[in-house]
């Protein structure tokens, strides 16, 4: 249980750090894999590191209330920067490190950051290149010195140097318990962090969360899943995302568990395997990618291995979830499952690094029921939750033993939920945000005076399970010209459950019928092409291949069939589709930083294609501008084919698809 919850005077993260250093000083707090070896820091060591950094920042002029931007991938020193800033009364503002210069400059200006603590040369370059537009920034501090030796160091400082300054100050100016006193000045109602949400439209909004809301949310979550100091998590999602902030920082400080920083973004799976994480959190995309990789690898495996894999997988599909849910299962099935664990499930879980996982969550978007069931059938306790930055994550979560592929669970502890007549979900909890930074107007739009927050999502409570179900963004549920209900995301998700389809964009609001633009999944379709001797020179060529069209047409037809069986959805079947000639990319603004499609933007950007879909054209020419990672621009042109589809008559009796 969350022992710390008892002591109400421990209400900020620096205070939790002091508690952890005192009560579990020798336990590992954070690890990082560097030069092939896991380096570990105990809570006691972290306290020293944070203290040195905090006093160093103080010496550089950080005052109570100052904002400190933190930009980079998940590294121990960047997490320490967060706590160091908080300990002297500053407010950390983590920024998405892959944001293009424009986006970053907006956040840094809007937050009025005084100091930017960044990971490496790449980020230093980005910040320095915009320095004339960022007068508020007095210093840029970097963690990784490579390539920065010859830079002008008047405003630039190496993090180790800052800590050296801090250590010196700790011996003179701030000797004794001066730092601890600074920490004691902080209180629960202070702003703990500002997290900018990328949103689907307009500029990012700075969500202000108080210590109280983050701490209480974390305590509740730790209690809900019985998390202890013994958990191991791996930190690999953007630090600027509320999910990572809660899982890899807040909950860790509150429970005292260990956070592991991977060696590089490409080694996460291997690193996770080495660590054996016990508590995992990932957006559906991560689970999808793992499964796609497995399936591709299995297609390439020998016949015997493949046969064995599929046999046991089918067995698991039938019995695995029942065994996990502790339902009665015949002995024979249990035995075969046990054999499967030995031969297939165990090695598979080991490959994913999920062998020791007690609780794994997926959130952020709907997960494909097939994907969801796959992991559960292997015996991984994968659950869904529904959260938002404005709620310090938790709104609903699935309790153990009450898992459904198509719900997001019951209200989390201390959370109240109500559904508006328009279908919009409203929530109220201690975790609710204080407001949008420098934007009282937007705050008032979203948060009512009595504390209810509009989620912007449409949903309903399933009378059978009592769980919340989310259909779509409230504003995105539209209607066709003939008044048929059109939920684009619902259709897109159905399409995206096919491994060959990476992204889908459905159009239809105020139109006569539904059409979709698809993105192929290069790994999956590429591997299919290799097996079937389909020759292609580029992504564009593969996407336009007639046999790829044929294959995706089959998928679309299946989706139409399933829509036809779903009563009100039957009228929203897909009449025409096309395959986009380029991958949708966050750098081009087509996806948000959390990889959600920006439907409106895409419809506009690919205007000629959208027109073609409704004009009856067989082919459309298009030229698109695209942005490279360094900010340069180029163009790509293509001739895109459009395929017509047959629709299915609505089925008389809707079939229940759930197993």
């Amino acid at each position: 249980m969350a022992q710390n919850a008892i002591d109400k005077s421990v209400d900020t993260f620096p205070k939790f750090l002091l508690v952890n250093a005192r009560e579990r000083g020798q336990r590992p707090a954070i690890r990082e894999k560097d030069l092939g070896i896991w380096q570990t820091w105990t809570w006691a060591q972290v306290k020293d590191e944070v203290k040195a950094l905090a006093l160093g920042l103080k010496e550089l002029g950080v005052e109570r209330g100052d904002k400190v931007a933190i930009i980079g991938s998940n590294k121990p020193r960047l997490y320490w920067s967060m706590c160091a800033t908080q300990s002297i009364g500053g407010v950390p503002v983590p920024v998405y490190q892959d944001a293009v210069a424009e986006e970053m400059v907006f956040v840094l200006q809007h937050a009025g950051a005084k100091i930017a603590i960044v990971e490496n040369q790449e980020q230093v370059d980005k910040v320095l290149s915009m320095s004339d537009r960022l007068p508020s920034i007095s210093h840029v501090i970097y963690d990784e010195p490579r390539g920065l030796r010859d830079y002008d160091h008047t405003r630039l400082k190496w993090l180790n140097e800052v800590q050296k300054i801090g250590r010196k100050a700790a011996e003179s100016k701030y000797s004794g318990d001066a730092w601890e006193k600074m920490i004691a000045e902080g209180k629960g109602s202070d702003i703990a962090v500002i997290l900018y949400t990328s949103g689907t439209t307009g500029n990012p909004k700075g969500v202000m969360l108080t210590y109280d809301s983050v701490v209480i949310s974390s305590q509740n979550a730790n209690a809900f899943d019985r998390l202890t100091e013994k958990e191991e998590v791996i930190a690999y999602l953007p630090m600027a995302w509320v999910g990572d902030h809660i899982f890899s920082y807040a909950q860790s400080y509150v429970a005292g568990y260990t956070v592991n920083c991977p060696e590089s973004p490409e080694t996460i799976i291997e690193d996770r395997r080495e660590i054996g994480t016990s508590y995992a959190f990932a957006p559906p995309r991560v689970y999808e990618n793992l499964l796609t990789l497995t399936m591709v690898r299995m297609e390439d495996a020998g016949r015997f291995k493949r046969g064995m894999f599929h046999y046991f997988l089918n067995h698991a599909r039938r019995w695995g979830e029942k065994i996990l849910n502790k339902e009665p299962v015949p002995l024979g099935a249990r035995l075969i499952y046990w054999l499967g664990e030995l031969l297939v499930y165990g090695p598979m879980k080991n490959r994913y690094g999920f062998t020791n996982v007690r609780v794994a969550y997926t959130a952020g978007e709907a997960i494909g029921p097939e994907i969801f069931r796959y992991y559960r059938s292997l015996g991984i306790n994968l659950k869904q939750l529904y959260g938002q930055t404005e709620a310090a994550v938790y709104i609903t979560a699935q309790p153990d033993g009450e898992i459904y592929a198509d719900t997001v669970g019951k209200p989390s502890p201390d959370v109240e939920i109500k559904i508006e007549p328009s279908g919009e979900v409203l929530f109220r909890s201690p975790g609710v945000f204080a407001g949008y930074y420098k934007d009282p107007e937007k705050t008032a739009e979203t948060k009512t005076p009595d504390g209810w927050v509009k989620s912007g999502d449409a949903g309903f409570f399933d009378p059978k399970t009592g769980h919340l179900k989310i259909i779509d963004r409230a504003k995105d549920v539209g209607k066709l010209n003939d008044g048929t209900l059109f939920a684009p995301k619902y259709i897109e998700n159905k399409l995206k459950f096919y491994p060959n389809i990476k992204e889908a964009v459905a159009l239809g609001s105020s139109r006569d019928f539904v059409t979709v633009m698809l993105n192929i999944d290069l790994v999956s379709v590429g591997s299919w092409a290799e097996r079937n001797n389909v020759i292609y020179g580029s992504y564009q060529e593969l996407a336009a291949h007639p046999r790829v069209y044929q294959m995706l047409a089959e998928h679309v037809d299946e989706v139409n069939k399933s829509l036809s069986e779903e009563g009100p959805m039957a009228g929203a079947q897909i009449k025409r589709f096309l395959i986009l000639h380029k991958e949708l990319d966050a750098d081009d603004g087509e996806l948000t930083r959390t990889q959600k499609v920006r439907r409106g933007f895409i419809a506009e950007r690919y205007g000629p294609l959208a027109e073609g879909l409704y004009s009856g054209a067989k082919e459309v020419d298009i030229t698109t501008e695209l942005t490279f990672e360094d900010g340069r621009k180029g163009t790509v042109s293509a001739r895109v084919k459009i395929q017509d589809m047959k629709t299915h008559p609505p089925a008389a009796a809707p079939m229940d698809k759930a197993a």
Binding site: D34, L35, G36, I37, R146, G147, R149, D150, E263, S264, E266, T267, E270, F628, E629, D630
Partner: protein
């Protein structure tokens, strides 16, 4: 251990010079009377149209080919010809145009192989892999891990290089050359066959190697943009002869070079 340096060369002084070198295969003259020098600490590019003798020149420098005429002076020592082993022990490392890796070995083992000359040659200890040899192995491993970190190839540490995509193979090959801690690094078309992003990465690594380790680099490259960005000085070969030598700007405006690239008849 490497041969003791006969003289210590300071930055800006001549590290290697090629004097009046001619090389022919049977009746074909690959290089005709070419002379140029490479100064310590610079990035020197060798460019020219296809078949100009660029790769042959690199092969002469690292001892794969033995010129019929001319001399090579490396670190003040004059030689009629270089042997590959002399070149390697003297501190010359290289990569190849079409990637020459140990395909069945992992990335880690490939880069470790680059440490060969830095390793103690005591056969007995190596056989036992015990005591001092084990300590030494760990020391070398550390060095290799630094290179892996530098080139950001942690994720392929344990993958046999034959399975890697081409761009990554090129990076591993650079890693193996770096593991030798060379004084002179010869790169034979390091960006060939790469996409734009990989090219940019490779450029950054080349610059970083030059800055960070102070390694002198001689590279052959087709992409003129890359050459102009990277190189301090450029030597231009055409039909085995040197037609220009100087800074990128000088070379760019040289009439002979323009003719060679535009294919004016000789």
């Amino acid at each position: 251990m490497r041969a003791p340096d006969e003289t210590t060369i300071k930055a800006g002084q001549t590290l290697l010079s090629v004097q009046n070198v001619s090389l022919s295969f049977g009746g074909v003259k690959a290089i005709r009377d070419v002379s140029f020098d490479i100064k310590k600490g610079e990035i020197r590019a060798i460019i020219g149209p296809n078949g100009a003798g660029k790769t042959s020149m690199l092969n002469v420098i690292n001892g794969f080919y033995h010129p019929q005429e001319g001399e090579i002076t490396f670190k003040g020592v004059k030689r009629k010809k270089m042997r590959p082993h002399d070149a390697a022990t003297g501190g010359i490392a290289r990569t190849f145009q079409n990637v020459a890796l140990f395909r069945s070995m992992t990335t880690l083992d490939n880069i470790m192989a680059g440490r060969t000359l830095r390793m103690n040659k005591n056969f007995f200890w190596q056989l036992l892999r015990y005591g001092p040899a084990e300590r030494e192995e760990i020391e070398h491993r550390r060095k290799v891990e630094e290179i892996i970190d530098f080139l950001e190839i942690q994720h392929i540490r344990r993958v046999p290089v034959g399975r890697l995509p081409y761009g990554l193979q090129k990076r591993v090959e650079l890693g193996r050359a770096l593991a030798m801690e060379p004084e002179l690094l010869l790169l034979d078309e390091p960006m060939a066959g790469m996409n734009l992003e990989e090219k940019e990465d490779m450029c950054r690594y080349v610059i970083d190697v030059n800055n960070h380790y102070g390694t002198t680099i001689a590279l052959i490259e087709h992409d003129m943009g890359v050459v102009m960005d990277l190189a301090n000085r450029v030597v231009v070969l055409d039909y085995g002869q040197k037609i220009a030598d100087g800074t990128p700007d000088e070379v760019k405006s040289n009439q002979a070079v323009i003719d060679a690239y535009l294919g004016v008849a000789h």
